[in-house]
C-alpha cells in the first residue's frame, strides 16, 4: 500500500524506537570479552546455564511458577521453535489437538506440518469457552494437546480469566492432555492486574509455559524460552539437536549480559508506558468510531484488538476492494486465524505500531468503511 496517507493496522512487530539498542550492543561486546575466542565455539544444545538460571528466577517471580530450576528452562530459536518442537514431540499425522478460534497464525503453520486433526474452541471475552472445551473432550478423549495464548491473545486481544485457567488445568488432568501456554505478550500489560500463568496451577507437569524475548527485547535475538518438566525438556533437547544442533552461544551470552547489567523490568515499564498511550487511543477510537454493527475486544495489554463485523461482510474482500484503495487503511482479515479458514467477518488491528494521531485517523476511516459496508448488506 503506497499511499502517502496510508495507515497500517497490520503490524505484528514491536516498535523499533523503543529497542534498547545501546545496551544490547554493549551486551554483545561484554559477551565477546568474557569468553574471548571460546565465545564463538560450539557449546551445548542447552545454552548458558547462567541465562537459564536467570529465567528460572524470572519464571518464579514474574510468572508465578513454583520450583523452577535451570533444568526446567529450555532456550529455543524464538517462540516459533518452541511451538514447532512441542508439535514435533507430541503430534503424529491425524492426532487430535485443540486450538482457539481464532488463534495465532504462526502456530497453525507449525502444527500444520504434522497434519493433526484440529478441534476449534471459541474464544470469549474472558478466554476460551471451557464448557465447549469439555464437551469436545468428552466427545474426543483422544485429544493430546491444547494450544492457547492466555494473555492478550493474538489475534483476539482478550485475556483468560483466573477461573478458566484453573478449570483448564483440571480438564487437562482429567482428560490427559498437554497444554502449550504461549505468552509472548504476558509482560506487556497496560491496565488491570496481572493473573497467574496457567502453568502456576499445573500439578502434573502437563503445562508447557512458552515465552520469548522478541516482544520485550528484540526479534532478531530469535530467542524464546520455555518452562516444563525435565522429562518433556529432555525429549525436546533431542529434537532440537536434530533440528539445529544447539543454542547460538554468542546470542544467548549477550542476552545473559544484558540481563546482568540492565533491569528487564525497568525496560518493560518503559515499553508499557508508551504502549499504554496507544492502547488508550485505540479504546477511545473504538468507542467513538465503530458503528453498532461492529464489536471490538478491549485489550488490557499486548499488541492487538479484534473487530467482529456483520456476518454478511467478507473482510478479505473488504480489505482489497474498499479499505486499501478507498480508505488507504490495512488490517489483517480473519480468515487465516482459523484452522479451517472459514471465518470471514473479523479483522485484527494492531495499535502498538502507530501514534495516537494515526490511530484516531485510521479508526475514523475504518468507522466510515464499516458504516458504508453495513448499508450495503
Amino acid at each position: 500500500m503506497d499511499y502517502d496517507d496510508a495507515i497500517k493496522f497490520t503490524a505484528g512487530a514491536p516498535a523499533e524506537p523503543l529497542f534498547p539498542t545501546a545496551a544490547m550492543k554493549q551486551a554483545y561486546l561484554d559477551a565477546m570479552a568474557q569468553e574471548g575466542d571460546h565465545t564463538f565455539q560450539y557449546h551445548t544444545v542447552a545454552g548458558p546455564v547462567e541465562l537459564r538460571e536467570r529465567l528460572a528466577e524470572r519464571a518464579m517471580s514474574r510468572m508465578q511458577i513454583e520450583n523452577v530450576t535451570a533444568e526446567n528452562v529450555m532456550l529455543t530459536a524464538g517462540g516459533q521453535q518452541g511451538i514447532d518442537l512441542v508439535a514435533k514431540a507430541l503430534l503424529n499425522k491425524g492426532d487430535a489437538m485443540v486450538v482457539e478460534a481464532p488463534t495465532y497464525v504462526g502456530a497453525l503453520s507449525a502444527f500444520d506440518m504434522y497434519e493433526p486433526t484440529y478441534f476449534e474452541v471459541e474464544l470469549q471475552s474472558d478466554g476460551l469457552n471451557v464448557d465447549q472445551l469439555e464437551d469436545t473432550l468428552k466427545a474426543h478423549p483422544e485429544i493430546k494437546l491444547l494450544y492457547t495464548v492466555a494473555d492478550f491473545h493474538n489475534p483476539g486481544g482478550v485475556t483468560m480469566s483466573l477461573a478458566k485457567r484453573q478449570r483448564l488445568v483440571e480438564l487437562a488432568n482429567q482428560y490427559n492432555f498437554i497444554i502449550l501456554e504461549d505468552t509472548p505478550y504476558r509482560d506487556l500489560r497496560y491496565t488491570g492486574e496481572s493473573l497467574p500463568s496457567i502453568k502456576h496451577f499445573d500439578t502434573e507437569g502437563r503445562v508447557i509455559f512458552l515465552s520469548s524475548f522478541s516482544k520485550v527485547l528484540m526479534p532478531t535475538l530469535r530467542t524464546g524460552w520455555l518452562v516444563a518438566s525435565t522429562e518433556i525438556i529432555d525429549q525436546l533437547y533431542k529434537l532440537k539437536e536434530a533440528a539445529d544442533l544447539e543454542v547460538p552461544n554468542l546470542t544467548a551470552s549477550a542476552i545473559n549480559q544484558f540481563l546482568a547489567n540492565n533491569s528487564l523490568d525497568e525496560h518493560i515499564a518503559k515499553l508499557n508506558q508508551e504502549y499504554r498511550i496507544r492502547q488508550q487511543a485505540m479504546i477511545e477510537a473504538i468507542e467513538r468510531e465503530l458503528p453498532d454493527s461492529a464489536t471490538a475486544t478491549k485489550p488490557e495489554g499486548g499488541f492487538f484488538t479484534w473487530v467482529t463485523v456483520d456476518e454478511a461482510i467478507n473482510t478479505t474482500d473488504l480489505l482489497y476492494n474498499e479499505a486499501t484503495p478507498n480508505q488507504h487503511i490495512a488490517y489483517v482479515p480473519s480468515k487465516n486465524f482459523y484452522a479451517y479458514k472459514d471465518h470471514t467477518n473479523g479483522m485484527r488491528l494492531n495499535f502498538t505500531g502507530l501514534t495516537p494521531e494515526q490511530i484516531a485517523d485510521g479508526m475514523h476511516r475504518l468507522g466510515q468503511l464499516l458504516k458504508n459496508a453495513a448499508e450495503l448488506v
Copy 2:
C-alpha cells in the same frame, strides 16, 4: 577423561586460536551501525539479499556451480538445519533413502526423526561404491534421497573421485532421486587438487549443495547455506518459517560485513596452512605407528581419518576398557556412524584439534593399544 597426559582424538570442533575474533567483532559493530535499531527488528525468512548474492558468487567461483543467483541460495541455522529441512521436505515415515556406511552421525539424527528406511552403501577410498549403489537402486527404485559427504568425509576422511561424482548425478537422473551434497569441509584442502562439486554436474535440479560457516569461520554463527533450484528452496522456506520463522538478521548482517571487509579465502588459506602441518603429522604417524592389522584413510583435507581394525576387536569396548584407562587416549568408536549401529571395528580420529607433538604421542599410544589388542584376538 581427566588424566594430565590425556590426548583426545574426539574433537569435531575447529581450533579456537584460529578464529578471526577481532574481525568478527568489528563485523558485528558494522552490522549494528549500518541499520541501527532496524538491525534488531524482524526481517525475512530469507535473510539479507547482499549475503545471498555474495554466496551465489562464491558458489560459482569456488564450488564450480553454474548460474547461481541469490534466489538459489538459502541461509539455514547451521548445516544441521539444512539437513533437517531437506529431510522434512522429502521423507515420510518408511520412505527409502541411501546413506553412506559410515556416515555423519548428526545427519542420521536428523533423518531418524522422519523414520525413513535406510539403505547403506559402503564408502571406498574414492568415495561411495557407485556399483553397489546402482544395484541398490535397481532393487529399490522407490529411493527418494541420497545423502553424501563427498569432500573429506566425516567420519571416513576420503574424497569422492570426479568419475563417481559424474556417475552419481547420472544415476540420480535415471532413478529419479535427490542428492543432498553436504560440504562443511570442502574449503579445507591441504594437499591435492580441488574437484568440482557434485552440484556442478547437476542437469535436472536434483542436487542440493549444502555448506556451512561453522568450520571456516565460527560455529556459534549457526549459519549454513545451501544452493538448490528455486522450486526446492520455496518449499524449504515454508518449512523454515514454520520451524523458526526467519534468519537472525544481526548474525547474517555480521557475516555479510565480515565478507565485505575481509577475504574469506585468505582466512581459509591461513587455516589450511596450520591444519596441513597437523594432517602431515597424522599421515606420518599412521605409517609409523599403526600395526599391519589396522588400516587408515589418508585424508587430503577436513578434520578426520578413519581407522579400521581386525573385525574381532570391538572399538567401543576397547575405548572404555583399554584406550581411556591405560593409554589415556580417546577416539570416537565406529558404531554410531552406521544407520544400523552394526559396525564395531572402526574409529574416527580427529587431527586438527591437536599439535603435531600430541598427534605423534597419541598415535604411538594407539599403535601400542592396537598391537596389544591384535595379540589377544
